[in-house]
């Protein structure tokens, strides 16, 4: 199957493309070009001013899927189809119905390229060319140590994200946008915001109030979430109350919680709509972020414009992506997850000198 056919297959089988971060074939092609330099390079040698180049995707990829956010595994499936690689998915014990259903809908020849495992198979993992692992830092370290030295290992460990409420950004519209990005994927992904940092400490109560209003309009019952998750929410509410923060909960049974923090501190919450609004004057921001250096993924801003100084500031703390508030959970397909290209890391390049004629 050539690239054109594979692109068509993706378009046909990912009707929810917007959720996956692309709006059509063109965007997928742009992604290939941005990471690999040329659309045709996956199909055969391409002549560039520097010489002949072609890429060979890894033949097989072993994915260790996160159990909390299915979209990462679905994106892995999309990448495998795009590159034409075989895929082995180690599913979490609870399974990943979204991925399993998507695989079942693929044409037979593609289903044969994909294996779904319920048990981790170390030998199978070591037999693959590349390993993509989503998990805790401990899991990532353990998997990495079990891989062959020659294997490519793409690691996605624990990260957190947050929003920044600019001095003029505590508005109803931005709060509504914030609630959308908070509730996506039950707030369990690395792109889920844990806190909104208010540049103006005086805006904490205002923005918290606006978030509460926005939450009120959405159904957020605890029914259906695990006892563990409920216990974490219970504990986090108690902890914040004990710390003198203002904790707003509509009813005990609701999942969402808006906390107005007294002190400037960044603390990840239990998910499921638990959000802290934190006073973050410029002088205190570096101290808050320092503890989390290297563990920060993305930041959304209640503004449509940021300066290159601001970009550099966040980059310094290891943040890989900046966006408008509301878009945290909607990265474009071409974004560099944890700062790494997702296609380029899964191909090998071959090069032929420019003076060599290709017959």
């Amino acid at each position: 199957m050539n690239l054109k056919q594979r692109l068509q297959l993706i378009t046909d089988h990912f009707p929810d493309s917007e959720r996956m971060g692309f709006s059509g074939t063109q965007e997928l092609e742009n992604w290939i070009v941005s990471e690999l330099g040329n659309l045709d390079v996956l199909e055969g040698p391409v002549k560039t001013p520097a010489g002949w180049q072609r890429v060979r995707p890894v033949e097989s990829i072993y994915h260790i899927c996160a159990g909390n956010v299915a979209v990462s595994a679905e994106t892995s499936l999309l990448i495998c189809i795009l590159l034409g690689s075989k895929a082995v998915f180690k599913l979490p014990s609870s399974g990943l119905p979204e991925l399993e259903a998507r695989v079942k809908r693929l044409p037979q020849e593609w289903q044969q390229q994909i294996e779904l495992l319920s048990e981790h198979d170390p030998e199978r993992m070591r037999s693959c060319d590349a390993v993509v692992v989503f998990g805790s830092d401990q899991t990532v370290a353990s998997v990495t140590s079990a891989c062959r030295p020659q294997q490519r290992v793409l690691r996605y460990g624990n990260k957190i994200s947050m929003g920044v409420v600019t001095a003029t950004g505590a508005t109803e519209a931005w709060a509504r946008a914030a609630v959308q990005e908070i509730l996506a994927y039950q707030q369990l992904g690395c792109l889920s915001p844990q806190s909104y940092l208010c540049e103006d400490p005086g805006a904490v109560a205002v923005f918290a109030g606006l978030l509460e209003e926005a939450f009120q309009e959405l159904p957020t019952e605890q029914e259906g979430i695990s006892l563990e998750a409920k216990a974490l929410i219970f504990d986090a509410r108690q902890r914040n109350t004990a710390n003198g923060d203002t904790v707003c909960v509509p009813r005990a049974e609701a999942t969402w919680t808006v906390v107005q923090r007294r002190k400037s501190r960044l603390t990840p919450g239990p998910g499921f709509g638990f959000i802290e609004v934190v006073p973050s004057p410029a002088a205190e921001l570096p101290g808050m972020l320092e503890t989390w250096r290297g563990k920060l993924s993305s930041v959304s801003f209640s503004t449509e414009k940021i300066t290159s100084e601001e970009w550099a500031f966040w980059e310094d703390y290891g943040v890989h992506r900046l966006c408008r508030m509301g878009n945290l959970q909607r990265p474009p397909i071409a974004w560099t997850h944890d700062g790494r290209p997702r296609l380029a890391d899964l191909v090998s390049w071959t090069y032929a000198d420019p003076d060599l004629n290709l017959g």
Partner: protein, 344 residues
């Protein structure tokens, strides 16, 4: 009679329900005034001590508060002992401060002696560091206190401050002990035992401890080792050391408390001492769970005089009757956050 003497008396005698309630309310009344974080917490909840008539109404402070604030009823200058919890992602530990240790020692000694079989004549092997090696560890303090004030035989501490041990040294000791008739009382965390089993298997060392030997497991992997299920764990102990479930005990305690609960593995329920109470609450509503319903564990410990008697844990459990707790495990916040769920 001072409050401390009253509580010591409570620990000495078998309290009935009414006496426990009275002691709990007295202590609550004291702590609601003397303990600033707790006082603030009660104010946030809108609870006045005068409105509390039964120990089940006493609000429990979350254990995480010990990481955020100084939870004590006395000024820092009076602190004589601090026990620290293990670190978190945010890299700060919880602290439980004590002005006096009399109650703590009395509680841990009596709790152990009342619940456990008599192991005072056993040879003790500890995979928990001694108090001298780990002075901020409450577990180390407990084991050292028992070793010095209760055990009448030799005690070998075989690990360093970070709970690491040399398998070869331990094998040597185990082989030596297996040739003796004196039963062994072996103490350690779950991850230490897990390491031991694997080292024994790798080295193909076979040993069976003397009859009636007892294994004392204090639980806890703390991310340091692959976690075994309880049945797997018991099977490994039997296979590697020849100790049956009825000779394996589990201790449930935490730095934020001064008392411990114990469970024999073939029974499976932890039993709390008479000067404590345990309840399980529905995390969605905060209401008390009925018998055999799963929920969050909250413990009232009268021996926690200088901090707070009621603590809300991050553990889940089921009550069987008034005093028997089936421990389901700790809620792991790491497992629910980020692109991150441990592969199982």
């Amino acid at each position: 009679m001072s409050l401390e003497s009253e509580i010591l008396e409570c620990i000495r005698t078998d309290l009935d329900e009414e006496a426990f309630n009275q002691a709990a309310l007295t202590l609550f009344n004291y702590q609601s005034k003397a303990n600033l974080p707790y006082r603030n917490y009660l104010r946030s909840l809108g609870v006045a001590s005068a409105d509390v008539y039964h120990w089940t109404e006493i609000p429990a402070l979350p254990t995480s508060t010990f990481r955020d604030q100084r939870v004590a009823c006395f000024p820092p200058i009076e602190t004589t002992k601090v026990f620290e919890t293990s670190g978190t992602t945010e890299d700060h530990t919880g602290r439980h401060e004590f002005a006096k240790l009399d109650c703590y020692q009395k509680s841990l000694m009596k709790g152990f002696v009342d619940a456990m079989p008599d192991v005072s004549q056993y040879h003790w092997i500890s995979l928990i560091p001694s108090y001298e090696v780990r002075p901020t560890g409450s577990l180390s303090f407990m084991v050292s206190t028992l070793a010095y004030h209760y055990s009448e035989q030799s005690v070998d501490f075989l690990c360093d401050a970070e709970f690491n041990f040399e398998p070869e040294d331990l094998f040597e000791k185990l082989i030596e002990c297996s040739m003796s008739e004196t039963p062994i009382f072996m103490l350690g965390t779950s991850f230490a035992f897990a390491r031991l089993f694997e080292s024994l298997m790798e080295s193909r060392v076979q040993t069976a401890l003397p009859p009636n030997s007892v294994l004392f497991d204090t639980g806890g992997y703390k991310g340091r080792h692959k976690e075994y299920t309880r049945p797997e764990f018991l099977e490994l102990i039997d296979e590697s050391l020849g100790i049956k479930p009825e000779q394996i005990w589990n201790e449930y305690g935490m730095t934020e408390l001064s008392s411990q609960a114990y469970s024999r593995s073939d029974i499976g329920y932890h039993t709390f001492p008479a000067w404590t109470r345990v309840v399980v609450r529905d995390p969605a509503t905060g209401a008390l769970c009925s018998n055999r319903e799963q929920g969050v564990i909250q413990i009232l410990d009268l021996a926690n005089i200088g901090s707070v008697l009621a603590v809300s844990t991050q553990d889940l459990g089921i009550m069987h009757g008034d005093r028997h707790l089936e421990l389901l495990g700790r809620v792991d916040s790491e497992s629910l956050r980020g692109c991150s769920l441990n592969y199982e």
